[in-house]
Symmetry: D3
Subunit: 334 residues, 6 copies
């Protein structure tokens, strides 16, 4: 009963090398990602037992995606296959004052057309201890929302922890339901809230500021409305420019407010998936450490992810602990 379950779309990401644009070179690289699978792979890299559930194209691209998950020892046994193609996104990585640009081709992907009857949740959650979901999945389509809802219900029925990263991405949500209503329903099945003032304001219709005081108030109000929520973990990103960020974290666990120091990320390699690395760090940390150390672990995991190309955090548990213990000088390991 030790398995972390992640559920969500796996996307193929295609980017030019370095900071080039597609118009500059026809040499590109591909990676796989997707916010929930990023969390799953990252936890597997920390040593967790992870199963990712998804719907993936039944072609050589889908085979490659599944083999990518296996590389990280993520269980793919509950993945279903479909005739629809895998979702794709194209990324041009920015630098300094030039932002990165993304273009998605996902609206009729294999995952976006998933239906509840395609997933055997009983079987899939058999060894489950923790379920992680994000606001992307219910935004895609009615089928993906309902499939998620079934999973969440069963997870809670089995007493699993449920972490929610209820990011609201307005560019999605085209199938006709109201984001606030849907997310509200789903958050009711969740115990750990990985999100901040923006996400809370979205859910509650409030207007809290980013101050620590407001964060605490917002968290309290959130936990009042959603009594299943036990803890709220937020992170704060200070962007000097595309290439240089600072990251810190804060939390309210119903009793205490804590926050970490800024970690200074002076030479970003890839910021995609850094929020997912934070979530993975929190989930992994909460199973091993106290709340404060879990938050520090999440924050350090988020920071080090900025140094890996691709959506995935390759850091091991000990890589993260080194940073959390203050070794941020990057001294060469011989």
């Amino acid at each position: 009963m030790n398995q972390i379950i992640t559920f969500g779309e796996v996307l193929m990401r295609i980017s030019p090398r370095g900071n080039k644009k597609f118009i500059q070179s026809n040499n590109v690289e591909f990676y796989f990602g997707g916010t929930e699978v990023n969390v799953g792979i990252s936890i597997a890299n920390f040593g967790g037992d992870v199963k990712h559930i998804s719907c993936i194209s039944d072609d050589f691209i889908g085979d490659t995606a599944i083999s990518y998950l296996r590389k990280f020892d993520v269980s793919t046994s509950a993945i279903v296959r479909s005739k629809r193609p895998l979702g794709v996104y194209f990324l041009e990585v920015g630098a300094v004052m030039r932002p990165s640009s993304i273009s998605y081709n996902r609206s009729h992907s294999s995952f976006s057309e998933i239906q509840p009857e395609m997933v055997d949740w009983e079987n899939a959650l058999k060894k489950g201890k923790w379920f992680h979901w994000t606001g992307i999945t219910p935004a895609l389509n009615k089928g993906s929302k309902e499939t998620l809802l079934e999973g969440l219900k069963l997870a809670r029925a089995k007493g699993m922890q449920v972490s929610a990263d209820p990011t609201y991405r307005s560019g999605l949500w085209k199938y006709g339901e109201d984001p606030k209503e849907v997310l509200t329903e789903l958050v009711h099945y969740s115990t750990i809230f990985i999100g901040g003032v923006n996400e809370i304001n979205e859910l509650l219709g409030t207007n809290y500021s980013f101050s620590n005081e407001d964060f605490i108030e917002a968290s309290k109000q959130l936990m009042e409305k959603f009594p299943s929520i036990e803890k709220v973990f937020d992170k704060i990103r200070t962007s000097i420019n595309s290439s240089w960020h600072k990251i810190r974290a804060r939390m309210w666990n119903g009793k205490e407010f804590k926050e970490t120091q800024d970690l200074d990320i002076t030479h970003i390699i890839d910021r995609i998936g850094t929020g997912d690395a934070y979530a993975a760090g929190i989930i992994h940390g909460l199973q091993k450490f106290d709340d404060y150390k879990a938050m520090e672990f999440g924050s350090a995991a988020c920071a080090i992810k900025h140094t890996y190309m691709g959506d995935v955090n390759y850091a091991t548990e000990s890589d993260v602990i080194n940073i959390l213990e203050g070794d941020t000088t990057g001294r060469l390991k011989r």
Copy 2:
């Protein structure tokens, strides 16, 4: 009044380097292609004045596609943009007894959702002399079929030549109309038939063999049913294996049957787009040469295309003429 018009989907093609599979390396290359635009670019490389009409995504991938056409001096002024993503296909290039594999992600692409009212045909065909279409466009969707039909009607009304490559690809045609009926309607607006016994059997419901005798009979019956058709150009591919083909061409122009010698393509680099190179060679050839030399030009153009990576034929008119004049030894040009 000298412009060649091509109309059809522009796809992004993504392939690993050389003969690798996606599972082997995350270094891939992209190209743009699509059967009609391949014809257009190839004619532009022969020196023709070409306009390609299409519907392309309004993002940096679409910008890159348009800039790709411009590179070859193909007019992009009639291209419309859409919120839908560009169609994509993934290709693994085979070798020897290993076939190439293709996976498409095109069924909800920007082009497949084109509607007749999106194209200003009057304006687009203003300088038009020749219109080329293929069986892919009407296979995609009702909108693309009807848009094509409007274009064909106007083209014929203006007295343009219309070449048809009525390839029947059974994996497409999912929007509910009968391929034979649709293609029959469209071929009635065509004057040059670039296709062979397979395509004729498909249209007529006949069962001709590949013999020259049957080809002539089939062509005659075709021209009887479709009196607008003046000439039929076929090509015959002999596949020793994925890496080694032979190509020859044959034609019936209502009066004469002619065929060329086999061209021996001992070391294929990329066979995608070689049929399009044949069509481009026929179209360009018919504007400059007699029927037989046009066919030889098409056949040589098809052969040399096998030596270029990507969907596009880079050969110039003089490159092709060299081969057609018998210089197939590849002697170094200093």
Copy 3:
């Protein structure tokens, strides 16, 4: 009457990947550039209608160069071809305290042997509204200087705006004429001066310092000697090292002095062509905005160019406006 005309050499640039030296790897990349064509392409990327006039080798390298310009929708209709090879330069990109190194192979290039009778200026300037020239062209050879002079005369006769970037590069100027005299003659045909104290001192034989006071004085004296000059746009680069610069701009338009804030370019990707991006920004800006906003536009265009590999500025008008409006955090665009 809306076309921006640029006239000058197109060079092929060859560089190792990243910060490597030629001795380290035989894998290199090529780009095309040249100070005037960089300006032209950048303006085309802002949405301007641009024609570049040049003399380019009549071989596959020249074909590739022309196709490169077309990619950006720059008109190549007035380009002449020659038997001489295209000019080439080799670049090793430095880092931190290591400067970049350049080696040129341009002294007998196709452009350097251009002659006035090769360009049909009447035709080339037919739709012209603005003409841009730099101090490189007259430095190359007598023929290039005289060809430019003819163009300038006609441009002024037609009432076009003429912007001058009269950079004095002492390593050139080997054909026997006096740079100061030649540049003086050419500046007399110009209306916008894109250059600073160095260039003014060179022209006037003065010795102004870099202070704002001296810049204003120098500009006034320049405009006295060259009454056609209406405005002077300068930029100031602060180099922390090869990888980290700051950029700001200042101007004197005969009435007002203005200067911008420093833009901090903490992680330079390629500084080649950043001065040209500034000039392009000024030229484009002056057609759309007031003088101060044009200068800000130029300064932001210059800054963002440092984030693109190659000589060319890929930024669109809206990319630049985002920065100019203060969004320099590089926030990811979803």
Copy 4:
């Protein structure tokens, strides 16, 4: 009870791209291989349940090797880790009359220093049905030989099939035992002999020729001396040059002699691992088909492996069956 067990060294292979030599370029690619793991991965690609047992370095190179096996869904649960580095080999791929060259760095590798007590054979073979070994393992070191011997004893005790590929590589065998004696002992635990006249002559001290008659005689004598051997599968390679081979197979199953037609591999991409692909095909084939079809499957598997870069055969069961059913024209799959 359905698992195929392979036991042997996993090597990192490093090669320049294409047919380059190390002295030509510092851009190289790595793959993992090793004769037994090649067999294992190939069977996994055919759909078999495979476990590979080995001893792998406990560093990021070893992690990468293990993740490579997982990609193909090969079980790595019985792999042990060691402080010694992974074995490496360097390969320069030849062409035409230029042979490929190999240089090994394996003599003190993690696997070569394996000891019997490091492998928990009981556990490792729990689900085992088939055990495959080759002559490389006993050649490396006393420890690897003895570890193999323990495994073979248990496998036979459990009634598993045991296939032997008793290749004799004279460059190995430096630890002081007599190859013939050692191999004789090991073959006594085997039921399927994947080898030909050379290997039989080596074991029996005979001098049979390559004729079919001699092959049958040799096989009979082999089966007399080693009564556990039920079937002998040989393959015959005709090398036109480094780039062009023909492959056929023959067998003696105690009752019948059969041989296949030559498969013509006109454009070899990588011949490393083609013998292992043959063995994998035989092992997989014998579990699904009759002896003759198993041999055809092996032969077709061997042939198609020549078209994949790297040591591994990526072909699926259906890829191989297509060839075996005569489709060697490499027709594109749409």
Copy 5:
């Protein structure tokens, strides 16, 4: 007194990867070559003591070229440096019926502007035993011709062997002298003629055919007119297409005519420099073997060069001897 001297231009060659065109990709590779230095490097790879004399640009490109020669242990001590750039050539490698294309940028290169007083021939030839020249050097410019002539005079005065490869390339020879006259003067200083009927016809104004009879007659007449010539070595290339050639050699040594069998080069990687590999093989062979074996060595060296990318033959003496002894199957060396 054992040094082989080669004298001639070193060119930088730039080519796209594989068979791409420059218009297809901005990823290219560079090599160094030049007919005489190719001969020198090849002999050094056979184990000879080689000094190459040239004039090379005094920049980082020239440094890279010199370091390239050193890599092969070719002495660079007599190389002079100049302010002029290194010559460059661009190559697009063809395939099948597509020929390779070359574009040169060498007409004002560092070498083409060499002057006799720049080379200290006394010192340079101090340890010289053999001098090799080709028809390219006198074709470039008056200075290069005269520098060569001085070297040849001294070489003969010192009793060195002099091999001539008097290729006549009509695209060069622009400085106003008559090729036939110049080459005639230079051949008078030569002892070994590496060339065939074409070159002899050019020199004698004759019209011999390619038959063996005519080759013998032509050689006799050549040796009559140039009594210093002792032996004539020719090679015959049969081009099936760009990717597939056959090579054989023939000779007349004043007494005997001999010819070799065809070597079948079924998959050419790069044919540039194969003639130089032949010359190097002859020169090296004549120092070690009899005339016939020297010719066989040259022919096998020429054949194997077709399998190396770049201008240089990487084969060692033993690589060539393997082929010459009949091992053309490319069997893997373990």
Copy 6:
């Protein structure tokens, strides 16, 4: 009598491109390095006459290594070859708070099994003026220690300067001797100590801090115990993170203490070999400049090395002098 002698292992280094991990991509690059050969190559790049003595594998990897040294004009005439493979190390380059990781495969390499009788020291040191050794060589094996000891004895007997970089790397030293004893013996043959407080504490068993006062005291005590030592050169690295360091140097020459300013290395490309670049700078500097300028030269050499990928410092003497004279802005050299 002007030759700098370096003696030590040459290792092949294999790294993924940029900051990738091996698990991310099978595209890797190789370089050669090793602390002593890095010093040798760097001095050769400054213009020194350098001979490197080593034991290198007798295969194509060893050939490539030797050709790599020749590229830099380092004499390889005293290198011996062996049947053992070349040592290899794998490097993953970190960024920001992610440290680089190294994995070695060197413990049975060709160099680690060198024996004293393999090197002809008399001959090797014939033109020797300076001998450089490091603490790596005696750490590898008894044979390498004793070979070094013989060399040192002869070097001192001939009155050569001997520089010691007695780095103590605890992961090595597995052959049973006491590091302190061995290093003590070797330092007695040395005249220039390139090391700091750590190395002195190791040798003397003291416990000095990093303060300048302690450095001076430690140096004095060192010079008392080892009267041959004339000067001590230390460098101090301040690591902000993996991507950003500061470097300064200090020295005690028996009379004076001096230290340099920090050099700020804001964007590190590769820090491997930067200590060797410092040592090379000191050795080269002491032959040309006074002690203080030699130290500045070493410090600037160390700093610029951080901007070159690979183990080797490509900077020339004048590149370093520019920095030392204060030009650290990286201004482009045209």
